[in-house]
């Protein structure tokens, strides 16, 4: 090194010590981590504690004990509900996996006609409310007022009824067709990203098409199928709306409907509700843990960044059967229910038949026109509240998601690993379980009975979806793009505002729309946390279904569905085809 005799009396300027610790970055990330930790951990802790508190016979005092748990396994109704939940979830998983895998295969790997046109419709049920689906199917296929049954009676002269969805199998049917897209998304992504040369090389060894499919293709997509199946199991175990509409009134209870009756209503017992939530949460949490830690890491990464053109199988004449099958799915899952709801909503009273002379728009006036004196406040409140909750909730959740993703992927270390874990936890617990936790945590605070508690519940439960959306993009964006902004003299916040966020913009917007959709149709959290005045859209539907008539319910359902469908269109515009892969 060149040695220069330079004077050693340089005036060295030293940076401020405190400013080194309290940077924008450390403050923002600490605050965000703190919020997430509190929001996620507190309700679950409260749930655990409350589940061990036993209410005495008078209903005033509590003492520690295991009586809540023994009640679950000894009490006739609750045990039945527990078994029903397991049965429904298992069967629903089988149904949704069958539909999901077959539809994904048809769309990704066969020459089924017009499959590009049908593909978006296969995903529509993902965006719609299963509760509304249950209402629609009740009006289609309940024994007395079911439209299909009435048509069957008048066309074929059948006595009694052809279909009945007001039972466990109805629940399985509706949940199954509504959760099919969850499997479909996992499997089609895996099939599309598979390197076709993997199959080609099997064919060159002399294996036939059938042999190749069974010995190469299927094993490669198995992790995706398992992931999808587990998500369906967990989601259907936590589903409240469908069993509430098709099961409860006819004596078929599930854990979620039982938790609901213990959380609200005359014989409310939060402690027993907490214990039931614990049981449900442990089951779903375990399954999600298996999916996240055991199955997902084993998914064969066939991604090489290259766009593959997967092998397409010529089905010959069978391609029309495949087409009919796919069309049939879209018909029963999307077209038929929506059509039915529209028809029902236009009648003053629903008797299972279309009565052209009676058609009216009065139901829409009652549920939509909040200024009208005969409007129903539960419905109009619900619309207003849901839009407030969905837009504010999605914005806060995405902001949190950006900061959290930044922490996880840019500031590596112990804290980021804890955060990564905390972001998976809410996914493991059904909305109704988390809501129960939020309820017992905050019931004695001022935020109870306000929109804030709903907002808190929504964000806690669903911000991981936004976070995943952001994370996947952040992984693809080089860290050096951020670093070069810092080197150019920009602070952390300026970098976030001018570089990071603009680069993540498509992901942020897609995530925002996704959360907006989820919040707009949310039922199982809202039903636990709402009070008079803080109804949401889905609670409005619930209210009308319970205390008013089917046409009014259908009218609000149609309104909700229209907004959700609009969101689907927007979502497809801003997000790519693959953006949904959970």
């Amino acid at each position: 090194m060149t040695t220069e005799a330079a004077p050693s009396d340089i005036q060295v300027i030293r940076p401020s010590k405190w400013r080194g610790i309290f940077t924008q970055e450390t403050i923002a990330t600490s605050v965000a981590s703190f919020i997430v930790a509190i929001a996620v951990i507190l309700p679950l802790m409260a749930l655990v504690v409350n589940s061990f508190l036993v209410l005495d016979d008078m209903g005033f005092d509590t003492e520690w004990g295991l009586a809540n748990y023994s009640e679950i396994f000894k009490g006739r109704i609750i045990r039945k509900a527990f078994l029903n939940t397991l049965f429904i979830s298992s069967m629903c998983t089988v149904l949704a996996t069958f539909f999901g895998v077959s539809l994904a295969w048809i769309n990704a790997r066969t020459n089924c006609p017009w499959r590009e046109k049908l593909e978006p419709f296969n995903l529509v049920p993902f965006f719609l409310s299963p509760f509304v689906g249950a209402i629609a199917w009740h009006n289609l296929a309940s024994p007395k007022v079911g439209l299909l049954n009435n048509w069957a009676r008048s066309l074929f002269g059948i006595q009694g009824h052809l279909f009945n969805v007001d039972n466990i199998f109805g629940i399985i049917w509706v949940t199954g067709i509504f959760f099919t897209p969850l499997v479909y998304l996992f499997v089609i992504g895996s099939l599309r990203r598979m390197d076709p040369s993997l199959e080609d090389s099997a064919r060159t060894t002399g294996a036939g098409l059938w042999r190749t499919t069974m010995s190469v293709t299927l094993p490669l997509v198995t992790p995706a199928i398992l992931s999808g199946a587990i998500i369906v199991f967990v989601t259907s175990a936590g589903e409240f709306g469908v069993p509430f509409k098709l099961g409860s009134p006819y004596g078929y209870e599930t854990l979620t409907t039982q938790i609901f009756t213990k959380a609200v209503g005359d014989d409310a017992n939060h402690y027993l509700g907490a214990a039931m939530s614990m049981i449900l949460g442990v089951i779903t949490g375990l399954f999600i843990w298996i999916q996240q830690r055991i199955i997902a890491p084993r998914a064969y990464t066939t991604v090489t960044g290259k766009g593959f053109r997967p092998n397409v199988i010529d089905l010959g004449r069978w391609k029309w059967a495949a087409f009919a099958y796919n069309l049939g799915y879209v018909f029963v899952a999307v077209a038929l229910p929506i059509l039915c709801l529209v028809i029902v909503s236009l009648h003053p009273v629903w008797q299972g038949r279309v009565i052209p002379n009676d058609l009216t728009s009065i139901n829409y006036q009652k549920v939509l026109f909040f200024w009208s004196p005969n409007s129903i406040s539960a419905a109009t409140n619900g619309i207003k509240n849901s839009f407030i909750l969905a837009s504010i909730g999605a914005s806060i959740a995405m902001l949190l998601a950006i900061v959290i993703s930044y922490m996880i992927h840019r500031t590596k270390g112990f804290g980021s690993r804890i955060l990564d874990f905390l972001c998976v936890v809410p996914i493991g617990f059904p909305g109704i379980v988390l809501a129960m936790g939020v309820l017992v945590t905050y019931i004695k605070t001022p935020i109870y009975a306000t929109l804030w508690i709903l907002l808190l519940g929504y964000i806690t439960r669903f911000f991981p979806y936004g976070q995943r959306n952001i994370s996947s993009i952040m992984l693809a964006v080089s860290e050096e793009l951020d670093q070069s902004s810092r080197m150019a003299g920009a602070t952390w916040v300026t970098t976030l505002r001018r570089i990071t966020i603009p680069l993540l913009k498509p992901g942020i917007f897609a995530g925002w729309v996704l959360l907006f959709v989820i919040f707009l149709r949310e039922l199982s959290i809202s039903i636990i946390l709402y009070t008079a005045g803080t109804e949401t859209l889905s609670v409005g539907v619930y209210y009308l279904s319970n205390f008013e008539n089917e046409p009014l319910t259908a009218a609000l359902s149609v309104a909700q569905t229209v907004v959700l469908l609009l969101c689907v269109v927007i979502f497809r515009k801003v997000a790519g085809k693959e953006a949904l892969t959970a």
Partner: protein, 368 residues
Amino acid sequence: MNAETANGSYLEVANLVKYFGDDRAVDGISFGVPQGKFLTLLGPSGCGKTTTLMCIAGLHKPDAGDIRIGSNAVASVSRGEFMPPEKRDIGMVFQSYAIWPHMTVSQNVAYPLEIRKLDRSEIDDRVREAIRLVGLEDMAEKGATQLSGGQQQRAALARAIVSHPCLLLFDEPLSNLDLKLRERMRVELKRIQHEVGITSIYVTHDQAEALVMSDDIIVMSKGRIEQTGGPHAIYARPTNRYVSNFIGIANLLEGRVTRAGGDRGEIEVAQGESRLLAPCLLAEGLAEGDAAVLSVRPENIEAVKSKPSGPAVEGEVVQTVFLGNWLDCRVRWGEFEWKVQAHPREGLRTGDKVYVCLDPDHTLAVRP
């Protein structure tokens, strides 16, 4: 590196340590760079050179040591001081160029000036000047994604120099370019750095890059400094086996110093019965009797058919590769094979018995 040399330095790094987990990526290194000079940190991947650069940039926090840029103490672990990267007034060119894809070239280049809240007209002038300097005038309004690798490289350089920072950092900026472009950009980069006169630190694993561009080179390995010096000194006078081996091609043979006086001496190497006593230049600190390594470059060896007068050993040509202007030969001597660059005129062939003789002025005894 001692204190006096550091005092003449514009940038000074002292006892820098950085851990990744339990791994000491940078293991207590110290160096300085005089104002306006171009210093290269050279070493294989994982030697700690990029980590050192990141610590200077402020993108990594050191675990021990001090860093001073000009009159600013930017990091001092013992005092708990740390200046965030954006306050350090450094221009940096990244390995991936990190050109922001959502901006045009001139927006990219203008960014550091906008952050410094300069007048629009001054920003425009300086952006135009920087873009002209790197030769991207035609691409100024193009989106960053439309640029080729070499153009992105130039844009990144323009962005780094536009704010006239006090220090320029380069993190392997040429490693993603193809060979032809890389060779051209070396000269170009050096010209621009010379023109703007900003003190620069350049990280690379490519020795040719280091030799062409640098005023000074620091050869690193395993988080430590192996040798510091100008390109010529590093190539001609490596002081240890690692540097000899890493820079260029060298014949390395373990032996012992048999005579030492000043910087000249003699080293003994042996293969079985055959021994060679080679007069040589001694690396600093070697004394008589010390274990040392004989280091001599293939171009400084002669293989001749008739026995020469000076010290030589007899061997057999086992391989010849004709490369036009020279003949690449392997000459077996016991277990060892000498790498020799012979003149094609010599007409050596496989199987020939030859004498290998070394030039005392270019034969080195280096530390093991």
